[in-house]
């Protein structure tokens, strides 16, 4: 799954003209106008449903715990059939989670961690099993990487994923190069036979210049949605529902998957979809793994975080203190506020900062200082946890094994 990678590597094309009407969002290309992605238009265009307050409240009630701040704050903002999953859950039935990563580099940034932080919350809240797919084959096909390097990156990324604290008794991590075969492959073939070339071109934007490896890839990401792909986990549970947390750019994959599922006897996967994580320079700037200043990396030191936020985080504050006191900040474009919206847990503190900043009593420097403290702690925690992940732990998560307590 290239959710975070797509957000990282494509991001928003600053060169697009302001009057450009069309925005492009698919797993390998994301571009938009000067104002950034128009998520409302995207929801309408893709045909997803919006996550509203009532839905968030329902999740909180069913799980008997506060909803994750990514839900409360609208980072995860759209869904497909999430209500059906909740109906099932309310009736005492279960589902499983599926997420993943396309391991294209070791340079992970905070945006890459978001789907995993949220998935961990879902796993804990609903007490359900989780499969995590590392699409090393995808990266081999799209990038200039050897197979060995793709596999190595998959393992390195697995360590960062494990560091998020997943429950090993409910989690199976697999890399495509190592796992694809058997029942998984059978499902791939069924999917492949249901999708015409014209459909693939329409969904993914392939053209005749693309090599056939690319065209052959979509089934690989589709079939983890089907429980029979994992006979060691879900034997005899072919109608088990699947919930997929992902970034909105992955929607085309699962639109295809949902279209195919009933034709081959499976349930449609449900989705819960997130916005992209903005680059430090702003919504319309490309977040790139090769531009060290566009993102906070999980390997950054506290000093580096401070430097990046202070120097590069786009501010909605005014040019002078006098003007700032008079006019206040433009919160719609302010990157520190957007980041705090995602990472500052305390609702009251966040509301206070927004109010003071918007009304000009709080300065940009103060907001950035608070953001630096929050991000430094998150990154330091990740680094502590990552340092304790061993090769044996990676092997343990990736072992093809039954998970007898996965619904317990």
């Amino acid at each position: 799954m290239a959710a975070a990678a797509a957000a990282a590597e494509q991001g928003v094309d600053a060169a697009r003209k302001e009057e450009e009407e069309e925005q492009v969002v698919n797993p390998w290309e994301v571009s938009a106008g000067k104002g950034g992605i128009d998520y409302d238009k995207l929801v309408d265009q893709f045909g997803c449903q919006r996550i509203d307050d009532a839905l968030v409240d329902r999740i909180a009630r069913l799980t008997a715990r506060p909803p994750h701040c990514f839900l409360r704050r609208g980072l995860f903002f759209a869904h497909r059939d999430l209500n059906e999953i909740l109906d099932l859950y309310e009736n005492g039935q279960k589902f499983y989670l599926y997420t993943g990563r396309g391991p294209s580099s070791e340079a992970l940034h905070l945006g890459h961690l978001i789907p995993f932080m949220f998935t961990k919350y879902l796993q804990e809240a609903f007490k359900v099993p989780l499969v995590i797919q590392l699409t090393d084959d995808e990266k081999y096909l799209w990038k200039n990487l050897t197979i060995q390097e793709s596999k190595r990156l998959a393992r390195e990324n697995a360590k960062d994923i494990i560091a998020c604290g997943f429950d090993i008794e409910r989690t199976f991590i697999f890399s495509d190069f190592s796992f694809v075969g058997g029942a998984f492959y059978e499902n791939m073939m069924q999917v492949a036979r249901c999708v015409t070339m014209n459909k693939a071109i329409g969904i993914f934007g392939f053209n005749l210049e693309d090599h056939i490896g690319k065209v052959s890839f979509p089934p690989v990401q589709a079939v983890p949605s089907f429980p029979s792909s994992f006979p060691h986990l879900f034997a005899g549970k072919d109608q088990l529902r699947c919930l997929i947390p992902c970034a909105i750019d992955q929607d085309p994959y699962f639109r295809m998957t949902r279209d195919v599922a009933p034709r081959i006897g499976y349930q449609k996967p449900s989705l819960i979809e997130s916005r992209f994580f903005p680059a430090l320079q702003g919504e319309n700037t490309k977040m790139s793994a090769s531009d060290a200043n566009s993102a906070i990396y999980v390997t950054d030191s506290a000093k580096e975080i401070k430097t990046k936020v202070n120097k590069y985080a786009f501010s909605g504050g005014q040019d002078s203190i006098e003007l700032h006191r008079k006019l206040g900040a433009n919160l719609d474009v302010d990157v520190p506020i957007k980041y705090l919206n995602f990472f500052l847990e305390d609702d009251d503190e966040l509301a206070h900062i927004k109010k003071e900043y918007k009304e000009g009593r709080m300065l940009t420097g103060e907001v950035k200082q608070r953001l630096i403290a929050v991000l430094s702690e998150i990154v330091a925690r990740h680094q502590r946890a990552r340092a304790q992940v061993t090769e044996e732990m990676v092997d343990a998560f990736m072992a093809v094994r039954p998970l007898p307590n996965m619904f317990g």
């Binding site: 604290g165 059978e186 073939m189 092997d395 343990a396």
Partner: protein, 379 residues
């Protein structure tokens, strides 16, 4: 095209990796700064300096802890169990622990007749004991001084020389007392040299925290003084843990040469029972009471409670959940030595049993133990 066969199952996950993964999910990443500080601070009887420790934990995601030992003779329970407890606490607090196996230093100290090969075998034996005792090896790196110093000699010796140049003989001599001697005339050149090397180890290993016994404190302070000389701001933090006393009245330290002064890791159940039965344990007196020290530093950290089985006429069975509660009962006389001792013996035997099982059942461990025992007969 025929479908490819299903992938063979990957090797079963080792139980230690699974346990480590479970620890990770609920562990260090979720702990607050105060919790991590309290966990580490609780290891040390003394901490130089507390504010520096807190600042270190705040600023450095994975601090490096240094702990060292000389392989020699038999291993007493403080070295076997208390060290396991302390190392696991450091790992849980998010630190990386480097255990310095000071084989060269043991040779310098004429241990095992100065035979480096024997010293190294004993070192491996000690590591085997820690594994069996449940030390969390995922966060631990064992480093052999002979190997590391040879491998990075160009880094190590300049530090030693610089430390030697910046201190006078008198200052170094004061550190020599850790070897149990105080008469300067009897000091060998090796004994003068030793503290310079031990001090250098801290910088060589890039340690942020030195976690050693109170008896090693002087060399650690020397390291901090050396930071003043070289104007290094980040001084190593000294966490000096309590030294458990011997079982005899007034015996301040366990002695490896006095078999009845302590529980050793290889003692069997009967030996443990006898030693504790004979241990000094004055009624109503807590100060200098070795049995109560064992309970405080070994039983409570391990089990979280202390269970006493008594006749009804003596007050009946009782489970203590805190050391304060136990001390209170002991001082009033409600708890008697004749009740404490069997309970302590039972707890210690329970702690040592997995180690005994390991050395009985694992062939490599068995061979190692027999080899080490032969050394004792000859030396």
């Amino acid at each position: 095209m025929d479908s490819t066969p299903a992938p063979e199952a990957a090797p079963g996950a080792s139980s230690s990796a699974t346990a480590a993964a479970e620890d990770l999910a609920g562990g260090v990443a979720a702990m607050t700064l105060d919790e991590r500080f309290a966990l580490l601070r609780g290891i040390g009887e003394e901490c130089i300096q507390e504010d520096e420790l807190r600042r270190l934990l705040e600023n450095k995601p994975v601090p490096i802890c240094y702990d060292g030992f000389e392989p020699s003779g038999r291993m007493h329970i403080a070295q076997g169990i208390v060290k396991t407890i302390n190392v696991n606490k450091m790992v849980r607090a998010g630190c990386k622990v480097k255990i310095w196996i000071a084989d060269w230093f043991a040779q310098l100290n004429n241990k095992m007749g100065g035979d480096l090969k024997k010293i190294q075998t004993v070192g491996r034996y000690m590591i085997e004991i820690w594994k069996a005792a449940g030390m969390n090896l995922d966060g631990v790196e064992f480093l052999w001084s002979s190997e590391e110093i040879n491998r990075r000699a160009h880094e190590y010796w300049p530090i030693v020389m610089d430390i030697a140049r910046k201190n006078n003989v008198k200052r170094i001599t004061r550190c020599c007392q850790i070897m149990g001697r105080s008469d300067q005339d009897d000091l060998t050149a090796a004994q003068i040299f030793y503290p310079c090397m031990q001090c250098a180890d801290i910088f060589f290993l890039k340690a942020d925290i030195c976690q050693l016994g109170m008896d090693q404190r002087k060399v650690n302070v020397l390291a901090r003084e050396y930071c003043d000389y070289i104007k290094r701001k980040n001084k190593p933090i000294i966490l000096s843990h309590h030294m458990l006393p011997g079982f005899k009245e007034g015996q301040e330290k366990m002695s490896k040469s006095d078999p009845s002064s302590a529980i050793f890791m290889e003692d069997d159940e009967a030996q443990v029972n006898v030693k504790i039965k004979q241990a000094f344990c004055p009624p109503k007196i807590v100060e200098g009471n070795p049995c109560l020290e064992y309970i405080k530093y070994i039983v409570f950290p391990w089990f979280g409670r202390f269970e006493v089985a008594r006749k009804e006429s003596n007050g009946g069975n009782k489970t203590f959940t805190s050391m304060d509660e136990l001390i209170s009962d002991y001082e009033t006389g409600a708890l008697h030595p004749a009740d404490v001792k069997p309970a302590l013996a039972k707890a210690i035997n329970e702690i040592l049993q997995p180690v005994r099982d390991h050395f009985n059942n694992n062939n490599e461990a068995k061979v190692l133990l027999n080899t080490v025992k032969k050394y004792r007969v000859t030396s």
